[in-house]
Symmetry: C2
Subunit: 442 residues, 2 copies
């Protein structure tokens, strides 16, 4: 604390300091929870009404779980915090000089004394935003429903079509990006095909679905240890996935994906899992940002020259004390949220803020429905042991916001029975129905 500064506004005005949190994801939610007993006025803003358990989003996209299994209303999660209000509103910009957040296209102005910005990231298309309509990504429930509609509709279109080449294009699924999201999606699609095609379809019952995973780098799960990365590749190949490393996507257009200079894959379903761009909200803060648009924060997670603003989660670039970059994963966001809360408390107590240190508890990824890989530092697991470990951890977390026993029963039911209701095509509008020109008459 700089003791020569004037008394803070809330002291002069005889009120509680107001902490505004933008975003109800892992970072924002855990910051809010950490401040539940502090003598502040806490305001959580999110454009949706729900917190999303993002690590299981790929299971909604692949019609394994319904959205209701992995979401909970933010205001329900924070209902017991009497110092907290939740508002469903979309923040567009931050005026760091007047200390005001602007939302709902300028209609709403919300003042703050402390601000935690945790608005996450969207997918990035390497300078080709036009690819997005053909190759949607996976960040929100809405994205997951779009992917679910596209994947399920592809099987329906394959069944409708009598042209063998068109059928194969509808049964070809291309995933761009070999990180955890790409690997997890790629591992689930063969299951959909194996579960439903031979039993429920007539014309395509004898055909094979083709899943292609395109990774530009030399290996899948590039940030994992080599042994686990190799195991993931082996597991994917065992599921029938065509794993292609060193495969650069050079064009995405309706009906096709181009790889390198001279290969074209005919497909009607392309899913983008490569590259992130931080929320554009970071730009209005006026601090330096990295290439992915992340705000480069100080060691205490605050913005240079603005000790009252913290940027956390996927929006923040923060170097660990060991020089390693903090990864864009849920545990890191949760830790940053709690740390920002601690530093606000310390500031209010006139104590200096503490630097953030990321504690990596390990990395996990599932491959298909019964295998996973886990890197827990000293221990590395793969196969079904890793999968049970993954299941245990995720149920433990989900149980944190839903009733413990019933969540176990219900979730296990949905997962193991391959819940049929989740195979729901909800939108037959323009966004998800493929163009009919490629569909022939019966």
């Amino acid at each position: 604390m700089d003791d020569t500064r004037p008394r803070p506004a809330w002291v002069r005005e005889g009120r509680k300091p107001r902490v505004v949190i933008v975003g109800g994801g892992f970072g924002g939610l855990h910051a809010a929870r950490a401040l539940s007993r502090d003598d502040v006025e806490l305001l959580v803003l999110d454009r949706t009404n729900h917190h999303l358990f993002q690590p299981l989003l790929y299971q909604v996209a692949t019609a394994t779980l319904p959205p209701s299994d992995i979401t909970a209303p933010i205001r329900w999660l924070l209902r017991k915090q009497r110092n907290t209000s939740v508002l469903m509103t979309e923040v567009q910009s931050i005026d760091v000089h007047r200390r005001i957040v602007t939302a709902d296209n300028g209609a709403r102005k919300i003042p703050y004394d402390f601000l935690i910005v945790a608005a996450g990231a969207r997918h990035a298309y390497f300078g080709h935003p036009e690819w997005e309509t053909v190759a949607p990504g996976l960040k929100s429930i809405r994205d997951a429903l779009t992917l679910r509609n596209r994947i399920l509709t592809a099987f329906e279109q394959a069944e409708l079509t009598e042209d063998p080449l068109e059928q194969q294009a509808w049964l070809t699924f291309v995933l761009v990006g070999g990180g955890p999201t790409g690997v997890e999606l790629a591992g689930m699609i063969p299951t959909i095909a194996q579960q439903s095609m031979p039993r429920e379809f007539r014309r395509i019952a004898s055909l094979q679905a083709r899943v292609v995973l395109l990774e530009g780098g030399p290996k899948v799960l590039g940030s994992y240890p080599d042994s686990l990365s190799r195991q993931a590749r082996t597991d994917l190949i065992a599921l029938g996935v065509d794993v292609r490393t060193g495969a650069m996507v050079t064009n995405v257009a309706p009906g096709e994906v181009r790889v390198g200079a001279d290969e074209t894959i005919h497909t009607h379903t392309v899913i983008w899992a490569a590259g992130n761009a931080a929320s554009p909200l970071g730009a209005s803060i006026g601090a330096p940002r990295d290439r992915a648009g992340r705000v480069i924060v100080a060691r205490d997670l605050s913005v240079p020259d603005h000790p009252e603003i913290f940027v956390i989660g996927d929006m923040a670039y923060v170097a660990s004390p060991d020089g390693m970059e903090v990864p864009s994963v849920a545990p890191a966001a949760m830790q940053m949220g709690r740390h920002a809360a601690t530093n606000i408390r310390r500031t209010l107590e006139a104590r200096p803020p503490l630097p953030f240190a990321y504690s990596n508890k390990g990395d996990l990824a599932t491959i298909g429905r019964h295998r996973a890989i886990a890197d827990l530092g000293r221990v590395r697991l793969s196969g079904s042991i890793a999968w049970w470990f993954w299941l245990f951890l995720h149920i433990l977390y989900l149980a944190g916001f839903r009733n413990r026993l019933s969540v176990l029963i219900q979730w296990a039911y949905s997962y193991f029975t391959y819940e049929r209701g989740a195979r729901l095509i909800t939108d037959t509008g323009n966004a998800t129905t493929p163009n009919t020109s490629s569909v022939r008459g019966t």
Copy 2:
């Protein structure tokens, strides 16, 4: 059978007769099941991929159940019928002379030997189609999600607003139509308010939500016996619903509903549950239709001059032997579906078709979460006994297409815990977000 007619096409061409069913609702599904062992080629067409348990749709609209609890893929339901194919395609017209169904805007032409038309109904706006954007109805999962988004968003907007008049308008819910759908929706909304407002909201915690049910006729549930209709009214009033009979809606516009000549109700949430219009597909058959657009079918459910075409369910107008009109309810559609299947079988066996006779097993409606009324002919129930009876019947039916024990556990869980995940606002696009002009800054 008219023995002077030429031999049927399938006999001349040495193939199986082709039965095409348009619509996978209660009528179409039960017709398909009834033909599972017949020596025919059966084709079921639906524009969605799922069968919908429509009697529980109001529970999705009121965020009590997730969509996955009341849907199942049509092709999964019919997977064991080796004579049956399912195609997801939207039928636009029927050429009764060439015996061809046209789908996907003319791109697909599907010939038939026998046709069962079961495309259902949409809501009708008494000559005011412009009311639909303000006052959506409830027929499909998509409709239910639209209503769910609107109802949940209304509470969020009330919390955002500081103007007391605007808050009350956001907390006022108007239902137009006092039939079973209107009564069931009206009974659920007070529960949402009571469950979530005092615990989770801060600014509107002390306010009251207002639910108004407008019925043009002299009583709610007009087709039920007087004693049950009166009981339903009493139960609704006990839940806090403002029940208004003899209340004609004269205008619906953004922000208001006009009743009669001189009353205006300020509201941002109007739900339409009055009036049905049969699918426009009936028009292309060329047979006489009633005012609601239903095809007036012969006693055997076939279309005059077209013994190979049957129209069933909400699309058909059929008089019972006792002169009573067959109601537009799920049991009637199921019975008609089975009956049309029987008459196709009889035609193939050169036996004369049988007239349809509706067997009314009773009428049921729920009021709120723990009360119902039941008219079983000799027995009339109300209160919680009727509700348990209703629950038993519906679980029995749902169990028909899902695993018996697990559906009981899961469904009861969702219902009794007021499943939080189902309170999901999935769409913040134009269709569901109210105009911001009525929302003030914080």
